[in-house]
């Protein structure tokens, strides 16, 4: 068997952490049945051929153990922690959940109803719904734009047989990465995992190579109307970089200057420190095996929403055009090089790094060489990387806001050539297939958006 096993035993450690990563994620969801991979994973904890869901959790809780499920586009992960002296019983439970899930109809109905309610609950959370809509609309039409959790619209298309099929098809012996840290015997654990994985469908399906998202040219604003809000959630996206991009490390430095998690970053200084417009203002890259997107975010009051959006767009354009200054480069490089000590400061993190390298197909030692890669960068290299990777002519902004509250600002909004307006709880779609929010509407003459005609 070819699955990768990474073990980091620690003598006398009181706990054992286990991690099992499947190299297939929600990218494998059948079209129209988004949420299949995620629900399959959830159902692993909903009963096995030997125990009902209640019996399984009673056994798990009796051990004082925890199992967490990680659901992603490119992988699915099962993580667990248990007291070292209860590891053997814990492994028996892992064997059951992985190789003998029962997928009982009754539990499936519960999972689906809970998910339906969770989607409804999400509509009450401005930041969650803004983030979901941002990803759905910005990556519309690409496999990466389909949400791992699925949606209210796709939930009813998934049946329990789809989950059984997903388990049979994708839970392949050789498509796993296994990791463990803590107080265990390496030989025993390796043997036990080989036994467990040997019971699954043999072989490997290989990774799914999905196309990278491509953003349209132009600056677009999508208003998600939610009445009664006193604040706006603003997210602005632009093309991203992948882990494999040769400029990845240079763009880490560049982004640290622009909007990384630093109070010295430009976004934080301009939006929060100078103007007090938002509690936070950040930017980040969402990277995977493919470049997903760059995003920046702030949460200003209604009165500052349009000026904040314009400022964020202008700062991004300036950054794309001029790059960063040499002192900014030196500060960011020094900060990130020093901070890299925290990438490896616990055994658990070292394990996570190794598992991530294997799951994402990164070169071995990607995290071990992190510091060196940053140290090797020069100002000229970072400026070159910014030129190649920051494209301010492509921006997609989502603003969740009470649209009526920002009408005066909308009338004079600069920089965004097209504006769309949708209800925040409306099912997402391809906005480019409908007309933008008309200027007349932006001036308050009418509030409807025509959804019937195609744009050019």
């Amino acid at each position: 068997m070819k699955q990768k096993m990474i073990f980091m035993p620690e003598k006398n450690a009181p706990l054992v952490h286990l991690e099992l990563a499947l190299l297939h994620g929600s990218l494998r969801d059948p079209v129209g049945k988004e949420g299949t991979a995620s629900m399959t994973l959830s159902m692993l904890l909903r009963g096995t051929k030997k125990r009902s869901a209640q019996e399984f959790h009673r056994a798990l809780d009796n051990l004082g153990a925890e199992i967490y499920l990680g659901k992603y586009k490119e992988s699915m992960r099962v993580q667990g922690v248990v007291l070292a002296d209860k590891l053997l019983e814990f492994l028996d439970l892992w064997e059951e959940l992985l190789t003998e899930p029962a997928f009982p109809e009754e539990e499936f109905t519960k999972v689906r109803e809970q998910l339906r309610s969770a989607f409804m609950d999400e509509l009450g959370s401005d930041d969650s719904i803004a983030d979901r809509r941002f990803q759905e609309y910005m990556l519309w039409g690409n496999l990466y734009g389909r949400m791992t959790s699925g949606s209210l619209q796709t939930l009813d298309n998934v049946g329990v047989e789809d989950l059984r099929e997903f388990h049979r098809e994708y839970f392949r012996t050789e498509d796993f990465v296994i990791g463990a840290s803590g107080g265990f015997d390496k030989k025993m654990l390796e043997k036990r995992f080989r036994q467990i994985l040997g019971k699954l469908t043999p072989g490997s399906l290989g990774r799914l190579e999905a196309k990278a998202p491509v953003m349209k040219k132009g600056k677009t604003l999508l208003l998600l109307d939610k009445p009664g809000r006193s604040q706006a959630q603003i997210m602005v996206g632009s093309p991203g970089v992948s882990f494999e991009n040769k400029d990845y490390f240079a763009m880490l430095i560049a982004n640290h200057v622009f909007g990384g998690s630093s109070f010295s970053a430009r976004l934080m200084k301009e939006v929060r420190e100078k103007r007090g417009w938002s509690y936070g203002a950040y930017s980040w890259y969402r990277s995977g095996r493919k470049p997903l997107y760059f995003a920046m975010q702030s949460v200003p009051s209604n009165k500052d929403a349009i000026p904040a959006l314009e400022l964020m767009a202008k700062l991004f354009s300036d950054y794309g055009r001029k790059g960063i200054t040499k002192p900014e480069f030196e500060f960011a490089k020094k900060s990130l090089v020093s901070q890299s000590a925290f990438l490896q400061d616990t055994v658990r993190k070292r394990l996570d790094n190794k598992v991530t390298e294997a799951v994402m197909g990164l070169p071995a030692g990607f995290y071990d060489h992190y510091r060196k890669k940053l140290q090797g960068l020069t100002y000229a290299k970072v400026q070159g990387a910014i030129k190649r990777n920051v494209d301010a002519s492509r921006m997609f902004a989502v603003m969740l806001v009470s649209v009526d509250e920002i009408q005066p600002g909308l009338k004079i909004l600069k920089g965004f050539s097209k504006v769309w307006r949708r209800k925040f709880d409306e099912a997402p779609g391809d906005i480019y297939q409908v007309n933008p929010y008309s200027l007349a509407a932006r001036r308050g003459a009418r509030k409807e958006v025509s959804a019937r005609t195609r744009s050019k």
């Binding site: 009181p14 706990l15 904890l45 869901a53 209640q54 959790h57 009673r58 798990l60 809780d61 009796n62 051990l63 004082g64 153990a65 925890e66 922690v81 248990v82 007291l83 209860k86 109803e113 809970q114 339906r116 309610s117 969770a118 409804m120 609950d121 509509l123 009450g124 959370s125 401005d126 939610k226 009664g228 809000r229 006193s230 604040q231 630093s262 109070f263 010295s264 929060r272 420190e273 100078k274 103007r275 007090g276 417009w277 938002s278 509690y279 949460v299 200003p300 009051s301 500060f331 020094k334 900060s335 090089v337 020093s338 901070q339 000590a341 925290f342 400061d345 616990t346 055994v347 658990r348």
Partner: protein, 427 residues
């Protein structure tokens, strides 16, 4: 160097030892040598929180916490952040609670002197301007909008505390009422700074790959000359005994119903706290817990939780529920009443208790592995319990809790007359 401290050593958690240094100016330093990586956590905890605010000044402790990142007489605005960040500081942050305010950072070991110099400087050398204050107040207004006004759960929590505490400052939001924030000035900040920010009202927690004696020498170098100050003598008003259930129903922009319940419980030093914390696990931790089975498995809720507030003064034992679509919070309340009655009448099984003890053992090991979490454990227990050693003792005491003690605390505290309920319904 002349030693201007008293040094005591205690057994801490696992194999770790805790070194305590008491300086002449009242400052306490707690250092734990943890050699796992060449980094350390540096936290400064002040014995002041929203509990110490007068009526009409709600939010001052938190707003002032923001101001601590502005300039000092020695370092103008921005230098603190830039120097810390370029020294490799991670998780550079601060937080304000009801009982404490803490300033935290994680750094590579080479940065010990840098952080000691900067933190000691801002402990007494802050130089606030009106412009900085006004810009930061705007930031706090935005933070308030984000976590309270535009967040249904934030609104419900604010309402719950306001309803449960009529006199005690726990009834006021940590972030403050909007009107109180508007009426504050730079003078309020300066007065607050002078009253509560001094070595005698602070503790420093350093956990990481550093020798405790070396840390003490560095702290002595930078803090040793700070003049001691009289400890503030604030006494929070006593909350009158609650005699009947209090209920509030809020109309919120949500699509599913939600409920928060709070039962009055004693302060963190009370003997019953340990059994109460076991009770919270019996009720809601894990999918075999009583409320998960009774509320989530049965399709009434998608989420349930129970937790215990351990504070300087009596506070609340919380339950929180998020209902499934079409289900009513009142249904969840009916189930909660039934489950509480069952514990009060029949107690819990030995199997349940053993399960919770195993879970707590795992969580304690899990929660106390990083330098930051160990520092936080020290800071929080030293301030709330008055002695971090009591926090260490609590870990052992959990294993001694009996089924009878859990039954007894359920009957003593989970009474309807002691309950405050806030229900959130879709508009």
């Amino acid at each position: 160097m002349k030693k201007n401290w008293q040094h005591t050593k205690y057994k801490f958690i696992g194999e770790l030892e805790l070194d305590r240094f008491d300086f002449e100016n009242g400052l306490r330093l707690f250092a734990v040598e943890n050699k796992i990586a060449p980094v350390f956590s540096y936290q400064t905890w002040f014995n002041v929180g929203s509990r110490d605010e007068e009526a009409g000044k709600s939010g001052l402790a938190h707003l002032f916490e923001h101001m601590m990142f502005k300039g000092t007489h020695k370092n103008q605005q921005g230098i603190f952040d830039r120097t810390m960040e370029s020294s490799g500081a991670r998780d550079l942050n601060a937080f304000t609670g009801t009982d404490y305010t803490a300033y935290v950072a994680s750094l590579p070991v080479e940065a010990l002197e840098t952080v000691a110099a900067l933190e000691s400087d801002r402990m007494v050398g802050l130089a606030l301007t009106k412009e900085q204050f006004e810009a930061e107040r705007e930031v706090v207004h935005n933070e308030r909008k984000q976590v309270m006004e535009n967040n249904p759960e934030g609104k419900m929590y604010e309402e719950l505390m306001k309803l449960a505490f009529t006199k005690h400052p726990y009834g006021r939001p940590i972030i403050g009422f909007e009107a109180d924030l508007d009426s504050m000035s730079t003078d309020d900040c300066n007065a607050f700074y002078r009253a509560f920010y001094s070595p005698s009202n602070a503790i420093i927690c350093v956990v990481g790959a550093l020798k405790p004696e070396k840390v003490a020498a560095m702290v002595s170098k930078y803090y040793g000359k700070i003049v001691p100050q009289k400890k503030p003598s604030w006494v929070a008003p006593v909350e009158p005994v609650q005699k009947e259930e209090r209920v509030s129903v809020l109309s919120l922009p949500v699509k599913v119903e939600k409920a928060y319940f709070g039962y009055k419980v004693p302060d963190a030093r009370d003997h019953d706290q340990i059994a109460l914390s076991v009770l919270s696990y019996v009720m809601s931790s894990g999918r075999s817990s009583r409320l998960y089975r009774a509320l989530v498995d049965t399709g009434i809720c998608i989420d349930q939780g129970a937790s215990l507030n351990s504070s300087k003064d009596p506070s609340l034992f919380f339950f929180s529920f998020t209902c499934q679509t079409g289900k009513r919070a009142e249904d969840a309340l009916g189930v909660l009443d039934r489950e509480i009655r069952l514990v009060c009448e029949n107690g819990i099984s030995q199997e349940e208790l053993d399960r919770v003890k195993n879970k707590l053992s795992t969580e304690i090991h899990l929660g106390l592995v990083t330098n930051q979490s160990l520092s936080r454990f020290i800071g929080q227990h030293e301030i709330v319990l008055g002695d971090v050693r009591l926090g260490v003792e609590e870990i052992a005491k959990i294993q001694a809790v009996t089924t009878d003690e859990v039954k007894a605390v359920a009957a003593k505290y989970l009474k309807k007359t002691q309950r405050t309920a806030v229900i959130g319904k879709p508009e």
